[in-house]
């Protein structure tokens, strides 16, 4: 492999990594903090992409149009997420009823997909970038698309912002406390409901941001829902629930490895995410049994068991 090919493939890996990261970030936050496996995360991502095509389509593909889409779409969907959380999801926390949460988010994913078909039709949408972002830069003889740089910078910013929020603010402190013991936090007089609504809305906004970012990269179709959802789950679980740095590292590992695997065999390379996840999960299980602490320890979620019936 020549040096240029190596760097090219590394850049391709970074590009893939940040696509993965943005599909997983919202799911990660909601799952990690609220303990809700949001099966509608893929739908939010898809809806974000569709909405980006219509905002940019209306305002034009200038920088202004794109900045508007990057802000308006996540904010709108975050607000919708807050409404859904208050009306539907909230009633499922008390009994830690994962089954109901699963059904609820699954039903929502059907509804979102149905609405997208109704509003946008079945045909794919495309939207283009402002001219200065649609080219490529020559770096060390290899080509790095300008847009990949944008997604990398945004990805790092999001990770840093969430890290800062979690460890540097009171809201972050409360959120961490809520992960450990929701009841106790409530007993201490904290409005846990409001905190959860905020976190859920933020997670949905992040998911929508991922959708906006993928929109100019290809055709926007209803397939985005499933092509985003499965890898997102893999990234979140590999990185450790709720661990944004973990998700970033998992995305990088999967993206870069998959990119180099593609050079060897384009078909087998598709198995990379599963391979990475399996190795990490089994290693974690073995280490857990031996009492070793791992680089990033996952949130101890309660088993997905039904409430005791009878």
């Amino acid at each position: 492999m020549s040096f240029v090919t190596f760097v090219d493939q590394l850049f391709a890996g970074l590009s893939l990594a940040f696509v993965l990261f943005f599909s997983a970030a919202g799911l990660n936050l909601v799952w990690g903090v609220l303990g809700v496996m949001n099966f509608a995360a893929g739908s939010v991502y898809m809806l974000g992409a569709y909405m980006a095509t219509s905002v940019v389509g209306r305002l034009g593909t200038s920088t202004g149009g794109w900045i508007a889409a990057l802000i308006a779409v996540p904010v709108t969907l975050a607000a919708a997420g807050a409404v859904v959380e208050v009306l539907l999801l909230r009633r499922t926390y008390r009994e830690q009823d994962e089954n109901r949460q699963f059904m609820l988010t699954l039903a929502l994913s059907y509804l979102v997909a149905g609405v997208v078909l109704l509003v946008f039709g079945t045909h794919f949408r495309t939207v283009s970038l402002p001219g200065f972002l649609s080219g490529g830069l020559n770096v060390l003889g290899a080509t790095l698309p300008a847009y990949t740089i944008v997604t990398i910078v945004l990805g790092l910013l999001v990770t840093a912002a969430i890290w800062g929020l979690t460890y540097g603010t009171r809201v972050g402190l409360l959120t961490r406390a809520a992960v450990d013991d929701r009841e106790m936090l409530g007993a201490l007089g904290v409005d846990v409901n409001r905190l959860y609504t905020a976190v859920f809305a933020f997670g949905i906004g992040l998911g929508a941001l991922g959708g906006v970012l993928i929109a100019p990269q290809g055709a926007v179709t209803t397939n985005l829902e499933t092509t985003a959802l499965v890898p997102a789950f893999i990234v979140v679980v590999t990185g450790g629930l709720g661990n944004m740095t973990g998700a970033l590292l998992a995305s990088l590992a999967i993206g870069v490895l998959q990119s180099f695997a593609t050079l060897q065999d384009t078909t087998l390379a598709q198995l990379t995410p599963y391979a990475v996840m399996t190795v990490v999960l089994l290693a974690r299980a073995v280490a857990g049994r031996r009492g070793l602490s791992i680089v990033f320890s996952p949130r101890k979620a309660s088993p997905a068991s039904p409430p005791a019936a009878g």
């Binding site: 850049f11 391709a12 079945t122 794919f124 080509t143 019936a309």
Partner: protein
């Protein structure tokens, strides 16, 4: 009938549900004796709904074989409204509706108007077969058309040829769907993957300066079939196929595949990556510089290249959909009266042809019996959006021309990305009947 009973059934469940909801919360610990009785009751209600529904519609299912004068000829249309190939489904439906509208405006066929019944096959064989079966059994449909999935088409073809005798007109690329010979009830409306690969090889052979050929395809049966046919037809050309790669269908990041192609230093990339995946591939290939490193030759329909902000000008494309001959034509204007923008045109034209072929077959056979229609269509020349085309008797494949040429941007005459000069390839030579 059946519907009303189903509605009644769901209402029962719902009203019961809302009454009982609060009680369930209060009295979760219940006695087991009463429970099982009520459970049995629930089972009974459910089964009765099923039985009732069945009885309700079984009467209408088996009506007499010949159609009463003026009664509509029903055509069941499988549209993949959801699922992997859903992107063109609304165009398919509009194209089929347009054909029905035009035939009916002419007074129908043999005095019968056409009636379209659209069902979502979810691009899934099990759903498609179940829908097709229900159309045949419940709606007494004798003509089926549609689906964009070869897998669905294959399952439906199995269903229609034996012993149902339902005529099925469908545009899918998998040649094995049409392996039933002259007795099959399935008719193709687009070139198969084999013809596509053969034709692409002829084009590459005509460019002897393309010495190193990299092939990139979709990672499913269509991609494998075209690639295999292309390779076979390239044998002995002196041009070298340096790689065959497969991209996952519906992927959102193809950069690593594109970089691999660039690293292989091909003279030309032959791509059978289709529709929305082409958009993704081309969009990501532009900044990575693929088009500077190599020529690009592949399946590109007009709607797809026109939808790209930067169409791959300088690439060579072909389309087996009729898109090149109907994009921005009176046909597409007619389509727009049905409330759809023709983004691709090819899918709508294909669906139009599927219905048109059924209508012509019935007219030619002077009968609404699918077997007579099948015999009339084998070897016939049919009117399509692209003009008169022959259906080969031995395999029911249609000799639809393939449009190809270099991609150019908007011109004064054609204000959209298109092929210029446009060449129409006669595919009759590919049939060995």
């Amino acid at each position: 009938m059946a519907l009303e009973e189903m509605m009644a059934f769901t209402t029962v469940v719902r009203t019961r549900g809302s009454n009982e909801m609060k009680k369930t919360h209060r009295a979760r610990k219940s006695a087991s004796k009463g429970r099982s009785k009520v459970l049995a009751g629930c089972a009974l209600v459910t089964i009765l709904a099923l039985v009732g529904a069945g009885c309700g519609s079984s009467g209408s299912g088996s009506s007499s074989r010949s159609l009463a004068a003026g009664a509509p000829i029903k055509i069941g249309y499988l549209a993949s409204l959801t699922g992997f190939c859903s992107t063109f489904s609304q165009e398919y439906v509009k194209g089929a509706e347009l054909a029905v509208k035009q035939v009916n405006a002419r007074g129908g066929v043999l005095g019968h108007p056409l009636r379209l019944i659209v069902r979502d096959d979810k691009a899934t064989p099990n759903v498609g077969v179940s829908q097709a079966r229900d159309l045949v059994l419940s709606d007494d449909v004798k003509y089926l058309a549609g689906t964009c999935s070869s897998a669905v088409a294959k399952s439906v073809t199995q269903l229609v040829s034996n012993p149902s005798h339902v005529l099925y007109s469908v545009g899918v690329a998998d040649p094995s769907v049409f392996s039933g010979g002259p007795d099959s009830y399935a008719f193709d409306t687009i070139p198969t993957a084999t013809i596509e690969g053969d034709n692409a090889a002829a084009y590459v052979r005509a460019h002897p300066r393309w010495k190193r050929v990299a092939v990139i395809s979709e990672d499913y049966s269509y991609g494998y079939q075209v690639t295999a046919a292309f390779k076979a037809a390239m044998a002995g050309s002196g041009q070298q196929i340096i790689s065959q790669d497969y991209v996952p269908s519906g992927g959102s990041d193809y950069s690593s595949y594109i970089d691999k192609l660039i690293a292989e230093h091909p003279d030309v990339v032959y791509s059978t990556v289709i529709t929305e995946d082409t958009v993704t591939l081309v969009k990501q290939a532009l900044p990575l510089g693929l088009f500077k490193h190599a020529k690009y030759f592949g399946i590109l329909d007009y709607g797809t290249i026109d939808a790209m902000a930067q169409p791959p000008v300088g690439a060579y494309g072909y389309t087996y959909y009729p898109s090149a001959s109907i994009y921005h034509t009176p046909f597409s204007a007619d389509l727009q009266t049905l409330g759809t923008a023709v983004a691709n045109g090819g899918a709508a034209g294909d669906a139009f042809n599927q219905i048109q072929i059924i209508a012509q077959g019935i007219a030619d056979a002077h009968s609404t019996d699918p077997t007579a229609v099948r015999d009339a269509l084998g070897g016939a020349t049919v009117q399509t959006v692209q003009g008169n085309v022959k259906i080969h008797k031995c395999n029911h494949l249609i000799a639809m021309p393939i449009a190809m040429g270099p991609v150019v941007g908007k011109t004064a005459a054609q204000p959209f990305a298109h092929f210029e000069p446009l060449r129409l390839v006669d595919t009759n030579g590919y049939f060995k009947c």
